[in-house]
Structures are given as C-alpha cells and as structure tokens.
Amino acid sequence: GCGTTSERTSGAASPGSSKSCKGADGKYTIGMSQANVAEPYRQRMDDDIKAAAKDVPQFDVKFADAAQDNAKQVADVENYITQQIDLLIISPNEAKPLTAVVKKAYDKGIPVIVLDRKVEGDAYTGFIGGDNVQIGREAGKYIAEKLLPSGGNVVELKGLAGATPQAERHEGFLEGIKGNPKVKVIAAASGDWLREKGQSQMDALLKANPKIDVVYSHNDPMAEGAYLAAKAVGREKEMKFTGIDALPIPSGGIKAVEQGRLSATFTYPTNGKEAIAAAKKILVDCGTIEKSQILPTRLIDASNAAKIYAEENPTG
C-alpha cells in the first residue's frame, strides 16, 4: 500500500519460491503457525488470513496454535515440514527460538512468510510487520502535541514484563514525548495485556495519583480496563485514554474510540491480508516478494474511527 517502507529482495528469488510455484492450476497447502490465539490481535490475524484465503481457491490454509510456548511452536513447524506443506506463514512467539526451525523449513525449499515479529538472519522469504517503536513514538507525539500541548501527567500501563512489544512501545513512547518536556510520566504499572489487570492496576494508580491527565496504555484492552476503573470513581472525564492495536472487531479499540471511551488508538496491522497476497504472488504468480514490508501505523481518533471500522469489515 501507499507509504510502505520496503526493500527489494536482492538478486534472484529465494530457493523456495521458484521450486514450489505450480501456477494457477496448482493446489497449495499453507501452514500458518500462530504464536498464541489467546491474544485478540493474533486471533484476528488468523481470521484475516482465513478471510483473505477464501478468495484464493487454490489455497488450503491450516492453522496451529503454539499457546505462547516457543517449544510448542518449534514442534508445530516441524509437523508442517513433515506434512510437506507448500508455504509456511509464521507469526513467531519470539525471534531467536524460532530462527533455527524456520531456517530448516526454508532450507527444505518451503517459502516462509514471517509476520509481526521477525526471526533472526535472513533464512525466510519475506517479512511483513509493524514497527512497535514507531507506534510508541506516534502515540507519544500525539499525546505530547495533541492531548497535552501545555504539559501534564501521564500514567503508563505496560504490557507483560518481558515481552518485546512492551519494551518497544515503551521506548518509542519516551522518544515521542521528548519534544514536550512538560509532559511527565508520573507512574507506570504492568497490566500483563489484560483488561482486568488494567482495571485493577488503574484502581491503585487513581488512588495514588490525584492528578492524571492521560493514560497511555500498551494495548486497547488495558486502556478499556483503565477507563472502567476511572469511571467507577467518577473520574473518567478528568483524563484521556489512548490504546494501541485498533482491532476492527466489536470488542476492539476502534469501536472504543468510536464510542468515546478512548481518545485515540494506533493500528498495529495484523498483515493477514498482506500475507495471503504475498503467498499468492509466490505460489500462483511465481513472482518474488519484498524481503521486508513494514506497514505503517494509523492514528484512529473520533474523526475516522467509524469509517475505518467499516472499511475493515466490508461484509458487516
């Protein structure tokens, strides 16, 4: 799409793509290895892939859920290799632990599309993802410039300690608010990505901090939880809430913005559609894809929420 930052795969196509392309007459089994469907974002990724694949009659997509366990995901990919799938889509739980097994698949001639989180090295066909640091930066800038131009107190609700996106969304955010020294992060708490954890952490934050102007949450569910906590003590009007992910589902962030609970959220694209498009290019069109495709984030606020929600859910 427009504004896509990309780099071309250098020289010839990967060993995999050429061999596995049987054109439009072929039948293709695609294995999708998902890190953890218990995260709404990743469930949506699977759903997007499923929806996009419906439009490609040659494709038969299988799904595996690693339930947040690196070792299980390694086994999932091994099992796909055993099944001799034609293409692997993987959204790795973590980079390093999956690198070896992805390389193994790639070396066996299976094209690999990596989503959301990279693996190390370059033994894959293409990567499609977002940039968490950039999202954090955008959110920081938005808060520093739009919500608190004259400064104020921010509390940060972080994701699960130890998760990469948590660190990156935090890091980017600090960069983003640098421009406005009057914006202060007065407290941070870990909500483990969970709505109820966001709620109970916010209970305490509200108690401990009489003046909060903005709640910056690492994802939408925690932001919603924080909103509920503030509402319970009648303080939801005193402050603004921002989230990240902007899933176009009824329980997602776009709806929350549309309904006025959140001031803004930032899309973290699932890339499901893009992944199937890339797979089609490799298998059906016998073409090559970009080695790395970073989809930009979009700011969702009251002005565009309804429109984007409708765009993302064309059927209803």
Binding site: D47, A189, S190, A204
Partner: protein, 338 residues
Amino acid sequence: MTDVQDRAAPAEKRSVAATLFRFQSVFGLIAVFVAAIIFSPRKNGEILFVSADNLANVVRAVSEIGIIAVGMTFVILIGGIDLSVGAVLGLAAVGSAVLMVENDWGFLPSVVLVLAIGLVFGALQGVATAMIGIQSFIVTLAGLQIARGLARIWSGGQGVAIAYGDGPKEAPTSFALLGERTFGGLVPIPVIIFAVVAIAAVVFLRVSAFSRHLYAVGGNEKAARLSGVPVVRVKIAVFAICGLLASLAGIVHAVQLNQGSPNDGIGYELDAIAAVVIGGTSLAGGRGSVAGTVAGALLLGVLNNILALNNIDSNIQLLIKGLVIVAAAALQRLRPTS
C-alpha cells in the same frame, strides 16, 4: 467417670485457644491489613489505603476470585480440587456475552442458562470423580481444557464486546446494573454479590444437614458411606455448586469488563486455591470454613492492592506474594491439633 473433672479445665483452656485459632486466618488478614496501613503511601496526610473508595476497590478486585473460592472451599472440604474454575469462568463470560449480544436473549434467560451450564459442567466432573473414581485433579485438569476449548469455539476465538441498550446486538441495560456501584456510588454490586454468596455459604454450612455430609465425606469417606451418607450424590452436588459459582463469577466478570472473552480467568484456579488454603482449609479435606476463605481472599486482595499502591516492581511482587502465601500457610501449622 473419674477424669471428667480433670479434663474440664484443659478443655476450657483449649476452647479459648481453639477460638483464637479458629480465627487465625482473620489474624493473618489483620496483620496484612495493619502492614498495609503502615506501608500505604500518603497524600496530604490521608492514608490512601484506608480511604473508602480504595477499600471498595480492594474488595471489588477480589470479588470474582472470592466467589470462585467459596465454591472451591466446598470441593476442597470433600478432599477434592477443581482446576477447571478459571476456564468455566471464561466459558460463562463468553456465554453471557454471546447470548445477550449476538443472540439478543433477555437478561434472565441468559443468566439462567449460563448458570445452568456451569452447574452441569461441574456436575459432570463430579460424576467422573464420584462414579468412575478418577481423581478430581485429573478430571478437572481435563475439564479445564474442555471448558476453554468450548469457550473458544462458542465465541469464535475473540472477546465479545457488550454494549447496552434496547436495540439488536445490545445487552439489556438491566444487565449493566450488575457492574454498577450502589450506596452513594461507593459499594460495587459485585462486592454485594460476593458478600451474599459468602454469607449464604456460611449459613448453609452451619445449619444444613448437607454440610455435615460434606465434612463427613472429606473427613472419612468410608465412615460417611457406612452411616448412610449419599457419598456420590454429595460429591456430584459439591462439584456442581463449584461450577455454578464459577459461572456466576464469569457473569460478574463479563459485566465488569463489558466483554466476554474465552481467555478470561486463566490461572484464577490457583488464586482461588491459595485463598482457600490461606483461609485455613486443609487440602486433605474435612476441615475448614468459608469464613476463612473469605479472609484469605481479602488478604490476597489487600496484598495486591498495597503492592500496586506502592508501585512495586511486578517481578518483586511475584516474590513477595510467594513468600506471603508460604508464611500464611505456615501460620496454619500453629493449630493445636494438626
């Protein structure tokens, strides 16, 4: 008999000690409460921890675990364990949301169906334990996976958002009331539900014949059977009650978060078990009380709250919580009769 007099004195003395120890879980709670006051951050001279709305929050935050823990107490009293409660909570949360939002059911039929599902799920686990004789740890470990799988399938894998209103795809506003606060906006309804459940359970255990049967099954199953206690029925009933309460907690969960997600309640079973054990109920069965469980749940809630108020690093929080659980359990060992 000659030794009646001799024994009267120690018996008296014992009953004082016994009374004290009966409330030892409450002591643990008081100790943590006092510690919380001491370590509470202050703002403008106000001790934040003891402010009315903070205390309301503390109880609100434990209300779901508390409701589950009451049911868990019953199961542990008969010497069993129920690992499925967290998953059943998730299933119930999904159920409430799907029925009211997607199927446009009314408030009452939805709640009744969801509670019935929890009841039947629990009862089936009771059947596997009591009639086939599989250990409850295993039955409910399997039950956990099955309930989680069902919740995922029912919800389509995504959380189902709950919006209120009279239109289609909206839950009845009466349902929203369950998540509100009452008494001048101070006391959250979930707290009241928790309190009602706890008091009902305490009274039930005190006055019903069923409770004697329950303690008997946990204390000496063979003796219970020989005395004509319907052991199988008691076991099934207890697992059914536990399932019912877990699904009640799921409804409360859904209304508090305006959403029913299949991933709700992961790991809640361990918190509930911790509350029960800290409250002085023996995992071996036959000994314990709901009052202790309530104290145990509140203790955990106060602990969480004070750690959060002080912004303790989440990793250090894990260490502290682990140590407090061990300390609270060690306190139980001070009982005169073990």
